[in-house]
């Protein structure tokens, strides 16, 4: 599998899709009746959230495969997915905050989607801190796999509990969920293109980081082989 060909392909795809997406969001799609131009953030929020959650799912799946098969490849994939996902999750949180201030006058609103994403962000943070503080132990990959897995299994319960929490105490400032309510087919089209663009962006970054980590792991394995060969050579003296 030619890694750099895939990487470059993803890069160009991302560029193309992003340009189209930006055009569609700012020029093509009609503004929504009630919220006006501020609603446009929705076309970035939804894809960012999707990517953040999907990436965490990948961390968990890679963790399962690592625990089962023991191949370093899965650990590298999980780590790459965690770092990449963290980037998009942070973007989503920051976008939410920047948008909330001029519109609602507060830096943050505890609506169910933002709250859940924030919890996810904390889980990402914990995972990455674990990686950082355990990187000198040989079991770090195993620890990270377990933490990623249990955190991911917890996410559905987080979603359920936050949703229940919000319906009992609806936030004073409610973000437009906008799942159904996309009457105009142009809105649907724009959303789909944005989803595709951000997914491509995520996949491209993931590939970049993954190939870096793979190279590092392979070098590590080589270094061990060299150490063995050196020791064997020393025997002959």
């Amino acid at each position: 599998m030619n890694h750099s060909a895939i990487r470059n392909g993803l890069g160009y795809t991302t560029l193309a899709l992003m340009i189209i997406a930006l055009f569609m969001v700012f020029d093509y799609v009609p503004p929504e009746a009630e919220q006006g131009i501020a609603q446009l953030i929705f076309y970035f929020h939804v894809p960012l959230a999707w990517v953040a959650f999907a990436s965490f799912g990948l961390v968990a799946i890679a963790g399962i495969f690592y625990l089962w098969l023991g191949d370093q490849l899965w650990d590298d994939l999980g780590y790459a997915a965690a770092e990449t996902g963290m980037v998009f999750c942070t973007l989503m949180i920051v976008a939410g905050s920047i948008w909330a201030k001029p519109i609602w006058g507060t830096w943050w609103t505890w609506d169910s989607r933002l709250t859940t994403t924030f919890i996810l962000w904390l889980m990402y943070g914990g995972y990455l801190m674990l990686r950082a503080s355990a990187d000198d132990t040989p079991q770090v990959a195993r620890f990270a796999a377990v933490v990623g897995l249990v955190a991911a299994l917890d996410v559905p319960i987080v979603i359920a509990s936050v949703r229940l929490w919000r319906t009992i105490h609806p936030a004073v400032l409610v973000t437009r969920q906008g799942g159904h309510g996309l009457e105009d087919p142009r809105m649907v089209a724009t959303l789909l293109v944005c989803l595709a663009a951000f997914t491509a962006f995520w996949a491209w970054l993931l590939m970049l980081r993954f190939t870096q980590l793979r190279a590092r792991s392979r070098m590590g394995a080589l270094a061990v082989r060299i150490a063995f060969a050196r020791a064997a050579a020393a025997d002959l003296k």
Binding site: P138, A223, V224, A227, F228, A231, A232, A234, D235
Partner: protein, 233 residues
């Protein structure tokens, strides 16, 4: 010929970039004993830990009772007794409580009786109800030996069993090893030098820089003079 109790095939282990074991080949039959001799850092303890199933090899395989050490089931773990540098004893429990606890874990028939019996054997009956934190290093070592052997395991892995022991203590451990071999157990022990154990035949291996460099029967070593070490020959 019966199946070997312990077997290794091209066993290798690295810690980071340091190869600690390289291409170790070992075979031990039932009822046989082996001493693995080497200096500090030669890899003796690592080898024992891999055979006990505590660590996985980086390369190659180790088999105990025919099972890969990476997947030792409960039934096989019960047949292995391990003595290490650390005693695995709880300082705030008494000697008797420690032994009873391990006897229960190893499904020994009558844990209380077994604990008393083994305390006797290692000469600690007098301090049975003293907490281990008050023990000297030698006493702890003796108790650790009792802990390792009370389930009458088929394989004993002993890491420097004579360290920190005075003459009396060493005699006690010697007697225990002799008893174990007499009832058909296999023993692998490590040491800095090959000791003399009356009445027991041991194969002797030297491990140096991660490889088993030389193998000589204990008899040959004894012929060269009592307590003569293999190192520097």
């Amino acid at each position: 010929m019966s199946a070997p109790v312990v077997e290794t095939h091209r066993l290798a282990k690295t810690y980071g970039l340091a190869p600690v074991l390289r291409e170790v080949e070992l075979r031990l039959l039932a009822g046989a004993g082996a001493f693995i001799v080497g200096g500090n850092g030669a890899g003796k303890s690592t080898l024992l830990r891999i055979l006990a199933g505590l660590e996985a090899p980086s390369d190659g395989r180790a088999l105990v009772f025919g099972q890969d050490t990476r997947r030792l089931g409960a039934r096989y773990r019960r047949r292995i007794g391990v003595m290490a540098h650390q005693s695995f004893l709880y300082p705030n429990l008494t000697a008797r409580e420690n032994l009873e606890f391990y006897a229960e874990l190893y499904s020994v028939a009558d844990p209380r009786a077994s604990a008393i019996q083994w305390l006797d054997r290692v000469g600690l009956a007098g301090v049975a109800d003293t907490r281990v934190r008050a023990f000297s290093r030698g006493m702890e070592q003796r108790l650790s030996a009792a802990r390792a052997m009370l389930a009458e395991p088929g394989l004993l892995l002993l890491d420097e069993p004579f360290a920190s022991l005075d003459h009396d203590g060493a005699e006690i451990i010697e007697a225990l090893i002799r008893g174990a071999v007499e009832r058909g157990a296999s023993v692998i022990a490590t040491a800095h030098a090959v000791p003399e154990i009356a009445g027991v035949e041991f194969a002797a291996y030297e491990i140096s820089r991660g490889r088993i460099a030389q193998q000589a029967h204990q008899e040959e070593v004894r012929r060269g003079g009592r307590l003569r070490t293999l190192l520097g020959r």
